[in-house]
């Protein structure tokens, strides 16, 4: 059967592509372009005119200590999230593979926080962290310890947010890693166990390399999540505070845009964020892309 030519196929494909591509063009590409253009202006969003300022917004951003503070905080969130979430997910995935019938039960349970609205999660954890009536401080007090202001100081708040974030997302990454593990044939493990009895050795030399791709996917999602997904959770729980202690880049951008009305400036933050994001993702992919492991 003769293959239709590339052009003919394209003609046939077009009607099917138009709806999705229209959305894409109108509400994704155009805003992206607008963001870049807007970043060259100074505008408060309400005035009829905007002043062209060229690259001065970018210069201001790069000189802003608040911006760099956000970068550091975002970095801390990313690094800790990567370490915490990936290790928890890998360990749990390993444990669950041998858990037999109960495996489904545990897995369903771990996934639940993902399904809850992050507003509900945010408020729930605010309640948990509440120094007066909260769950954690209640426990602490009953053992005779002082209550800790979990969200009260910048350092504590960041740690608490990381705890909450891990609680929400670990289930998802666990499921992901389990899917990756399921793709590894069993005989490999049998062969490995013939060589050594230590499970840990097997884990590091057999499992991990083979899970490279799923770990990569998790890593990318964690990194991109810290730029976008976490904005809602952080805003609900701390609004970036106290004292900008949890002001990740996304929140910083939001505050500049909608609280300080510096739309041009905020757009340049957005553009810089996109650049950072692309660098991070490329970096991570490069890190993981040494020779493909074949079996």
């Amino acid at each position: 059967m003769k293959h239709a030519s590339s052009w003919q196929d394209f003609k046939r494909a077009v009607p099917f592509l138009i709806p999705a591509c229209s959305f894409y063009a109108l509400f994704y590409v155009v805003p992206a372009a607008v963001a870049v253009v807007l970043s060259l202006y100074k505008w408060n969003g309400l005035a009829a005119t905007a002043t062209f300022t060229g690259l001065s917004n970018y210069i201001a951003v790069l000189q802003s200590s608040l911006f760099w503070k956000s970068v550091v905080i975002n970095l801390e969130v990313v690094v800790v999230s990567l370490l915490l979430q990936l290790s928890v997910a890998l360990v749990l995935a390993a444990l669950l593979m041998h858990a037999g019938r109960l495996m489904r039960l545990y897995r369903s349970l771990f996934f639940i926080p993902q399904v809850l609205s992050l507003v509900a999660v945010g408020m729930l954890w605010q309640m948990i962290y509440d120094p007066a009536n909260g769950l954690l401080d209640g426990v602490l007090r009953s053992i005779g310890l002082h209550s800790i202001p979990w969200l009260g100081t910048p350092k504590n708040a960041l740690v608490s947010m990381l705890i909450t974030t891990t609680w929400v997302y670990f289930g998802f990454h666990t499921v992901l890693q389990m899917a990756g593990r399921a793709a590894i044939p069993n005989d490999l493990y049998e062969a490995a166990y013939l060589e050594t009895k230590a499970a840990i050795t097997v884990f590091f030399y057999v499992t991990l390399p083979l899970l490279r791709e799923t770990i990569l996917i998790s890593a990318i999602m964690i990194v991109t999540g810290s730029f976008a997904l976490l904005m809602g959770l952080f805003w609900i729980m701390t609004e970036g505070g106290p004292a900008h202690g949890t002001e990740i880049l996304g929140i910083h951008m939001y505050v500049q845009a909608f609280k300080s009305y510096r739309l041009g400036y905020a757009s340049s933050i957005a553009v810089v964020m996109v650049i950072f994001l692309m660098i991070s993702v490329t970096g991570i992919i490069a890190l993981f892309s040494r020779e493909r492991v074949e079996y």
Partner: protein, 278 residues
């Protein structure tokens, strides 16, 4: 040298212990939320983390009677339903085209759609807000639906394309021989085969869109159009120190997605595993 049987049992014990610890950490906050919502305010202040002395359903009753939750619930239902349906339609069409037609640049297109997952619409929220305002679409459901469709279609296209790729060419050829038009081919043959995939993607989208907060926060100013996540912040303001009442609002608003999850959880996990596990 330990008896191997004993060693295995100990391993199993350790394994279940660890898993159960994690399970408790996962589940307890939710259980605590429920117990708080069943307490009176005084009871809560006095004993925050024990079982309620009298189980009280006033909080739940109060919320339901209050009525705004219903409005928020309806808004969420409308926005979610419309968005999910639109995404299902356009992403199956696009996924089909990318999967089954050979044209130059189709991989680039796929990557372009995936890009929306890496640089989510949330980062473009400022210009999106401005564009929607300029188009006078800000009030009401339209702006949310548009944003959510754009937000979720990237992954949906990727996943449906994966599903369409598995349809055997024989079916397509048979259809063409029978003289089907392109549209008939799509609707009569392709769609039914990819039904499972579309359902999984849609369920995921329902959960994502229903729970979405940040975009809604920026785009919806009119309280009567608030979705549930936004509505909850209204509750937080309203019942500022009445934690039990807030807790009951949180619990009630989580029930729909929890219910959806429990009904479809196997499908969700299986779909995710298949779609992402390569």
């Amino acid at each position: 040298m330990i008896n191997p049987r004993l060693e295995k049992s100990l391993q199993a014990l350790a394994r279940y212990f660890l898993l159960s610890m994690v399970a408790i950490v996962t589940a307890y906050p939710i259980w605590w939320l429920l117990t708080v919502s069943l307490k009176t305010r005084e009871d809560y202040v006095a004993h925050p983390f024990s079982v309620p002395t009298h189980v009280v359903i006033d909080n739940f009753a109060g919320i339901l009677v209050d009525g705004i939750l219903l409005r928020f619930f309806l808004n969420s239902v409308i926005v979610t339903a419309v968005s999910v349906i639109i995404v299902a339609l356009i992403s199956t069409m696009a996924g089909y085209a990318i999967a089954r037609f050979q044209f130059r640049g189709r991989n680039v297109l796929l990557l372009a759609f995936l890009l929306t997952n890496m640089i989510p619409v949330t980062m473009l929220i400022i210009p999106l807000f401005l564009i929607l305002r300029w188009m006078h679409l800000l009030g009401g459901y339209t702006s949310l639906v548009i944003s959510y469709v754009t937000f979720t279609m990237g992954l949906a296209v990727f996943l449906t394309r994966g599903f369409f790729r598995t349809v055997p060419q024989a079916f397509v050829d048979a259809g063409r021989l029978d003289g089907c038009s392109e549209l008939q081919l799509f609707v009569r043959i392709m769609l039914p085969m990819a039904k499972a995939g579309v359902i999984v993607v849609s369920i995921l989208n329902v959960i994502t869109i229903w729970n979405e907060y940040f975009i809604a926060l920026i785009l919806v100013q009119d309280q009567s159009f608030y979705t549930i996540p936004l509505g909850l912040t209204v509750f937080r303001g309203k019942y500022d120190t009445d934690w039990p009442r807030l807790a009951s609002a949180l619990f009630l608003s989580s029930l729909p997605t929890l219910a959806m999850y429990f009904v479809f959880k196997e499908k969700i996990v299986a779909g995710l595993s298949r779609g992402l596990g390569k």
